[in-house]
Symmetry: C2
Subunit: 738 residues, 2 copies
Amino acid sequence: MAQQRILTHNEVKHHPKLILTQKGVAEIKSKLGNIPLFDTSLEEAKAEVDAEIRLGIEVPVPKDLSGGYTHERHKRNFLMMQKAGVLFQILEDDTYAIYVRDMLMAYAKLYPTLPIHPQERSYARGKLFWQALNDSNWLVYTSQAYDCIYDWLSKEDRDLLEKDLFRPFADYISIGNPQFFNRVHNHSTWGNVAVGMIALVMDDAELLDRALYGIKDDKLTAGMRDNDGGLIKKEGQKVGFYGNLDEPFSPDGYYTEGPYYQRYAMYPFLIFAQALENVKPELKIFEYKDGVLLKAVNALLNLTDADGDFFPINDAQKGMSYFSRELVTCVDIAYYYGGQNPELLDIAQKQNRVSLDDTGLSVAVAIKEEKAKPFVKKSIELRDGQMGDEGAIGILRSDDLELVFKYAAQGLSHGHYDKLSFSLYNAGQEVLQDYGLARYVNIEQKGGGNYLKENTTWAKQTIAHNTLVQNETSHFKGDYETGSQHHSEKYLFNVDDENLQVVSAIEENAYPGTKIQRTMALIKDENFENPFVLDIVKVNSATSNNYDLPFYYLGQLLQTNFKYETPKTLTQLGDSNGYQHLYKEGLGISDGNNTSFNWMLNNTFYTLTSVTSKGDELVLARIGANDPVFNLRREPAFIIRKKDKKDAIFISILETHGSYSPVSEFALNAYGQIKNIAVIHDDEDYTAIEITSKDDKKWWFVMANNNNNNSSNDGQHQLYINDTTVKWEGPFVFKPIN
Amino acid sequence: MAQQRILTHNEVKHHPKLILTQKGVAEIKSKLGNIPLFDTSLEEAKAEVDAEIRLGIEVPVPKDLSGGYTHERHKRNFLMMQKAGVLFQILEDDTYAIYVRDMLMAYAKLYPTLPIHPQERSYARGKLFWQALNDSNWLVYTSQAYDCIYDWLSKEDRDLLEKDLFRPFADYISIGNPQFFNRVHNHSTWGNVAVGMIALVMDDAELLDRALYGIKDDKLTAGMRDNDGGLIKKEGQKVGFYGNLDEPFSPDGYYTEGPYYQRYAMYPFLIFAQALENVKPELKIFEYKDGVLLKAVNALLNLTDADGDFFPINDAQKGMSYFSRELVTCVDIAYYYGGQNPELLDIAQKQNRVSLDDTGLSVAVAIKEEKAKPFVKKSIELRDGQMGDEGAIGILRSDDLELVFKYAAQGLSHGHYDKLSFSLYNAGQEVLQDYGLARYVNIEQKGGGNYLKENTTWAKQTIAHNTLVQNETSHFKGDYETGSQHHSEKYLFNVDDENLQVVSAIEENAYPGTKIQRTMALIKDENFENPFVLDIVKVNSATSNNYDLPFYYLGQLLQTNFKYETPKTLTQLGDSNGYQHLYKEGLGISDGNNTSFNWMLNNTFYTLTSVTSKGDELVLARIGANDPVFNLRREPAFIIRKKDKKDAIFISILETHGSYSPVSEFALNAYGQIKNIAVIHDDEDYTAIEITSKDDKKWWFVMANNNNNNSSNDGQHQLYINDTTVKWEGPFVFKPIN
């Protein structure tokens, strides 16, 4: 196709212009040596690149999957080129320009010879890498390197690079792979931005248009799927960079795939936004959709636990955190373009490095000037959906506890079937876990570092999560199209009273004919050592069903108040929908009293007390059945099973208490405080619970199930329970009654 | 019995005299406020005691097992009294004396009314606690408190306390329980010291004699056992404090029960030694047996990993470390009485507190004067046995790796049946674990915090350890008397070359008719990223047997080079001797090639490469079968099984390599370097191994099996292998051959 070089050189005359700017570089140079955090970040980059330069340039013929040598080498190359470009600009040392040029020339020599990558696993294979996605990563970083040495290169070299490398490269990942480029997906964002970045460097309006708005006629069939089962084309969908900005981001900045992929996508979103702001400031990209890109950074930081690790919502590898290089970029850009919020400096200090550009400099200067304030994570609701009306992630925080409740939309192709699931953290430690994904990213030994089949058969299934399963089937029967049409409905999210924070949501589509309402409260009361979790799952169905509610506790089981049998041989708990991956390690039958389950994790005690009915099954399970190459972690679960019921109510309280020291061997407060939980009223309109502590204090928690109105007119309630009339305002009340 | 008050008041006229002394207190007071570590330790003690005083004195009627309320309360009481006594002396504030007096009076009122403790589990029940052992703990600490307020008390009060409390208390734990007092066991040490401490305070020569030399005629039957199965009486055994000092300590200061119990016993040993040094300096207790008490502190510190945690040899709860209060006392006493070794100050700095006496003051002053030097843990052999001739614990250290090899004696009643077992640590992280004990000390929910039956059925059994099992039976058939008659024989321990450290030992009694020699080397070579472990287990038997060699790896299995089947249902691996607690999770059959087993733990990779013969079984196992109340940790093992062989040789190399970052998602050096290990010679006299790396470098390791002589006369060897004659000096050689 024809390459049009639009003459906009009058607007921006010199390179670098993309991320570094002439003005910015001058300012950096003037401050060099005086801004500790910037200086050390620069030294680290220099040490890393210098070591690579000593090793010499290697541009191998592509061969491997991720984790393999050629994959990791090409990945390292683009990261090093980007840094070398920056070092050249800041240090004015030709060594770095030469390194970038020589490597680019090696790529320009190799690229035209390359067939499609020999590994056939991807729906959109790259040339350097097994996925066009990774090729796009390469171009996003390499564009920056090229921009840095653009003016230093001869025109001949530039022409050669653009002709043999950059234009065909940009074309291949876009018009060569429309099924990859013209999607709403983090993959496409990378593709769009890759093309957009090189377009801005080369000043190519056609490529920029393609990047921003997608390919006009992609000839794709609606309903196509990728190799992970994700939908490729939806009729009438807006694509390109704007399409990817519009649809997956909610007005709160929540990205529907979840924080793990949001982190991954944020780098291209923000680095391209920075580039657009530098080169096309008239687009006012940071103001787009009410400043959604900056809100997204705030959302992302709030989607982390006390250690900065992202909550593993949907497909997510645990351990990814705001210490990732992407988040360094995010925080610095958000600080620079988002009104210099001093709380962001707190995160930047923890990250202990900054971007080597204007944004990083501004952060480092502000930190030197001691402007940082603590980044305080509060309880927060992050709405899902383009319009913010497709459910949400609700996070309750109280002291060291963080409760993450998911009542969101499907989350595109990385979504899990886990409506109304939750997880719980104590001081950054998972207590009730979300399993995350079944993948060892970039660890070649495990399926080339890619998604494992257990991601589908286990990790995405409903039973792999702390939420209700009906008749051993997953929500929406595990069908992506069906799931994508629905989302849970928020009922309320109320954190006005920090001692009584409540979130409640309703799911009516996961199992047609069944309505599930889950209410979770984090309650702080002086009679308890720590805030406790109150969990109410109310199910109403037109038909009789079996209901399972699992709790994936981590740690060592200490004691239960119920008897259970442990089988001589371990068999799988069920046949499909994830149940085939669970072993049945124990089975108890409720005698109708409360069930108490006490365990220890990292020298803290936990007790889960649950209302159970006579005959309810109490299953002790462990992950790992039908796992022929040990892809799954052998971790435990406690499952409460109610059989053959239309309506059911699951009520549990989770207490965090006490401590154990293996050094002093003292166990303090090893038992919970809850003596009993009783349902004292439950109908369509109201649910009332009585909680009794071991010192015989009593509380009632009463909830209006059909009126979430807070106002004094419409939110007035009264209910006659146990010879008493309770009156309250708003959808719930929690009160001591003796 | 008659109480004799010997008039030795001319020698030592005033209290305190036991741990604190008049002179010491004066010096402490003169320095107060100027020695930071002492001052903060004092403040901590004050804050703790002040809080307890505010709560008021509680001396409940004894009722509970450990972990229960009355147990923990009485334990806290004696710890608080001891501290309050010290605070009274140093701060001259009567509040603390009153607190001690009032609490002692409460005990004096209660004690005469007490029956034997209602919990019947112990072979020697106490009155305040379920074991006389805990009663002894109480008296060891309380004696110190009494000494501190002795002069402050009225004579009437002293008389009352001694008549109603201290003398009957001392009699009950000694002549009232000879089966507890007259033993060689850490229990008895506590009993002896308890009686000795109060004897010194009350100046009672008869009690002191009883403490030092035991009860003259205990009327015990030889062969009696305690509730943990331990032998109580051995004919002609020396008992009392000296008996307990003579027999269990080796000349290197290794205590035969292992470091966990050594830590527990060291407090009474050393605190009583300090008291004897103060009151009876003519005994020269710190010089006894060539200074064994001071050597014992050094041994104990060397029996810790990089984090200061004790290696869990024999019965031992993991997590116990040199941060325990006992070790604070040990380190301070060893510094003060042991020649002011500046390396001990390094440990004291890490402990960040000191004893509130002369010894702690001297440590704190020296730290203030910046005399501390790093405590460098080197490879060390700690001989076992009273004469140092009953095997040893050999510890090899190289870079971050620590290999702990056990070829010691049985270790009294807390010993495990694990001759020639080993464990491996990397930077304080267990890689190949020793399971430790099956007990949750003081966690009442788990069997009252006491030993669980799985300690006998699992933790003590041979299969629970990284060592050879013959025919699924434990060493010595798991018989304590038989095990106690034997020990492994050291063959060599050679760490002269820090790049080639080798330890080798022989066991001929665990399975009569079978000789096992295990040689372990820690080899550092520039061709490997980290030092690697070479493990050679050579078995020769008169009969055909099945041999199992387990490796209790921790972490996530990534890849094996052999095929294995995973069963649909999990069944136990065997019927008894611990095998009933293992599930068989997978089974492969060797094709005769090397077996490679690759896993990841805490973002580091490990690869175990083993020589296997065609038909060898490769078992993937997991702990947890027949564990009806979840007392065991569900952790994995890899077991190499050779069937129906008289002679066998197991050879493995364990490599530590690479890293993974869940933040950058980079996997570096995820595979080991070993391509092949081959046995190129093996007979009674010599074993030779060829190691080939992936870049085709080759090394030979050759070992003389019947001559551990190092001298140039008797240690000259030559062997013709693969058309080459190898000549070397000493029992082994490791050399590159290309």
